[in-house]
């Protein structure tokens, strides 16, 4: 079967896994939290094998705490609410800070009232119920959004603390996440801002509860937009739609974040000036590429060729089908650091012929 011929949403959801994959990719990586999956064991096995492959890729060796209710034929016929209660009991016995409850297709199909089970459990105040519903609830990104939104709705409203921002939707199993984060921190420092909450990457429950203190929320990328919109709306604060892409992206980012956090215009202008100088310094390291002719391969991720062409222009490089073949990065390069990494790879390709 040619997957590409399938209608868009089917293609996307089948390739990305079901909502459980997305939901667990967030819920499993919060220190002190336990994820309860109300599903047949097979759902968790298949979901976890995907997560495991991603964890290997990202050198993550932490084994997440997942408890599966283990719906079987009996539960399909008689209802699975009791086995969810038993799973919640097991989760509560571990005395976690939070218990996430995510659901598969099966309880949705047979009509278990999982919300009611969660709310009458003795640990109800720790439970965050996320009705993900397997494929019935969409794809992995919907699962991810659902957990972020549900978690945010438990965070208390509070006054914004000046000079602080929160990041939303960095993927727990994203390659280069730490480099990207460092780049965003570098840019924010130019404006005198600091990141207080990474929602949710490596943050424990107590830290996550400070989400409402951020002056503005910076979204990792468009995939978590529904959650970010809900968060922005709940706390009535601005949301920056994505991490900066490429060189001019850094400049736009400084301006947008600066305005969102009410930074004085002169400070924003000086941050922009410093950044342009920084970028020039960085590009100087690649002066050997100046006037070189390269051939960009296919664009693996929307926007990567625009970022690449901008860097080429700043280095006075040419593009031609007969040029040195180089690869575009698999993901949109974040900030100047992303561009720098791309240029290293190009230089290696050009130097090695």
């Amino acid at each position: 079967m040619n997957w590409k011929n399938l209608p868009g949403h089917i293609y996307e959801s089948r390739m990305a896994g079901c909502t459980l994959t997305g939901a667990l990719s967030v819920a499993c990586f919060i220190p002190g939290a336990v994820a309860v999956v109300h599903a047949p064991e097979g759902c968790v096995h298949q979901t976890f094998s995907m997560l495991h492959a991603m964890m290997n890729d990202c050198d993550v060796s932490q084994i997440p705490e997942i408890i599966v209710s283990g719906i079987g034929d009996r539960e399909v016929i008689f209802g699975g609410e009791d086995c969810l209660t038993a799973a919640l009991d097991r989760a509560a016995a571990l005395n976690p800070d939070l218990i996430f409850v995510v659901t598969s297709c099966v309880p949705e199909t047979i009509g278990d009232d999982c919300g009611a089970v969660c709310s009458r459990h003795p640990s109800a105040d720790k439970i965050i119920y996320v009705p993900t519903s397997g494929f019935l609830g969409g794809s992995a990104k919907d699962g991810e959004n659902a957990v972020l939104t549900a978690l945010a709705s438990c965070v208390p409203l509070s006054q914004a603390v000046p000079g602080t921002v929160a990041l939303i939707g960095e993927k727990n199993l994203e390659s280069e996440a730490d480099q990207n984060y460092a780049e965003v921190e570098r840019l924010l420092a130019r404006l005198g801002l600091r990141v207080t909450v990474r929602f949710c990457r490596g943050c424990d429950a107590a830290t996550l509860m400070h989400l409402g203190t951020a002056e503005c929320f910076i979204l990792r990328d468009d995939r978590c937009r529904p959650a970010a919109e809900a968060i922005g709306e709940r706390f009535k604060r601005p949301v920056i739609p994505e991490f900066p892409g490429g060189l001019s992206g850094c400049i736009d980012f400084l301006k947008n974040v600066g305005h969102a956090c009410s930074i004085p215009e002169e400070k924003i202008a000086s941050a922009v000036q410093d950044e342009l100088l920084y970028q020039d310094q960085m590009l100087k390291k690649f002066s050997g590429l100046t006037k070189k002719t390269i051939c960009l391969g296919a664009e693996p991720f929307a926007g990567t060729s625009a970022v690449a062409r901008e860097a080429m222009e700043r280095l006075s490089m040419q593009e031609s089908e007969s040029g040195f073949p180089v690869k575009l990065p698999f993901y949109l390069p974040v900030g100047a650091a992303g561009v720098e990494k791309m240029l290293y790879l190009w230089r290696r390709a050009v130097n090695n012929g």
Binding site: R74, E75, I77, F78, G80, T109, I110, G111
Partner: protein, 268 residues
């Protein structure tokens, strides 16, 4: 082996008809099995003298090493009685329960004898409740209906299921006829007979409303056992004879809703 399924709207009297039919078959010396496919598990009670027998699903999930004696109980006239059981209303999936029951009975090689009567809840024909019609189990379906529009509506829906399932290579199910279980309505016999004709079948019996049925139920017996000489017992015996002699099995054509309503209005 004849495999007969009685379908019809809830409360129409399928269990009473099935139990009396099984009793009448047994009286003829046949080896009969009755399987109740309704989570209410009240199909075989009158054959079992009021005893609620343990259901297949209850047993299946309490014990691993189930044997035939755990799920098959002998009632009046030696009729082997089985109740599928199922969830409480509002939870779980009863249809899946019916499927699981059939899989177990099949595994036990319990489906044998001269006649198997399946008593099936019929206003919800999801795949699970259609199970007796599938895969060669119930080969003859009898629709139990009164002249009330809603019971005709349920019967009509089952016609759709039979027509659909008859296209499957493994299904051999056909409609044997319509049983009118009277509610004492005016023109009821004519209406049900006309309905049967319009769907391409025939009315095989008109079962009058009779106090003998209530009297038997109060005494936790079938009419055949409680009032064997009553005219109502003879009605059930005649029905059993008609069914045994019936070889006119058809694929029905369901009416559309407008046509069904028009028909019901015409006999008001």
């Amino acid at each position: 082996m004849r495999q007969i399924a009685l379908y019809g709207k809830g409360g129409i009297g399928k269990s009473t008809t099935s139990a009396n039919l099984s009793a009448a078959f047994a009286e003829k010396g046949l080896d009969v099995m009755q399987i109740g496919c309704d989570p209410k598990h009240d199909s075989t009670r009158m054959l079992m003298h009021g005893r609620w027998i343990p259901t297949v699903l209850e047993q299946m999930y309490e014990r691993k090493d189930l044997e035939m004696d755990d799920v098959i109980f002998t009632g009046f006239g030696g009729v082997r009685c089985v109740e599928a059981g199922g969830p409480e209303p509002g939870i779980g999936c009863a249809g899946r329960g019916i499927i699981a029951t059939f899989q177990l009975l099949e595994k036990m090689k319990a489906l044998h004898g001269d006649v198997v009567v399946y008593d099936v809840l019929g206003d919800v024909v999801c795949g699970g409740f259609a199970m007796p019609m599938r895969d060669g189990y119930a080969q003859e379906v009898y629709l139990v209906t009164s002249g009330e529009l809603m019971s005709l509506y349920a019967a009509n829906n089952i016609c759709k299921a039979i027509a659909r399932l008859s296209q499957r290579s493994t299904a051999r199910c056909r409609l044997g006829g319509v049983i009118c279980n009277s509610k004492n309505m005016d023109n009821e016999r004519e209406l049900v007979a006309e309905f049967a004709k319009r769907i391409g079948s025939k009315m095989v019996e008109f079962v009058p409303r009779d106090k003998a049925v209530q009297a038997a139920e109060v005494n936790q017996m079938t009419v055949i056992e409680h009032a064997p000489t009553s005219p109502q017992a003879d009605v059930y015996r005649r029905l059993a004879g008609t069914i045994l002699a019936n070889d006119d099995l058809r694929i029905p054509t369901a009416l559309d809703l407008d046509e069904l309503e028009k028909l019901a209005r015409a006999y008001l």
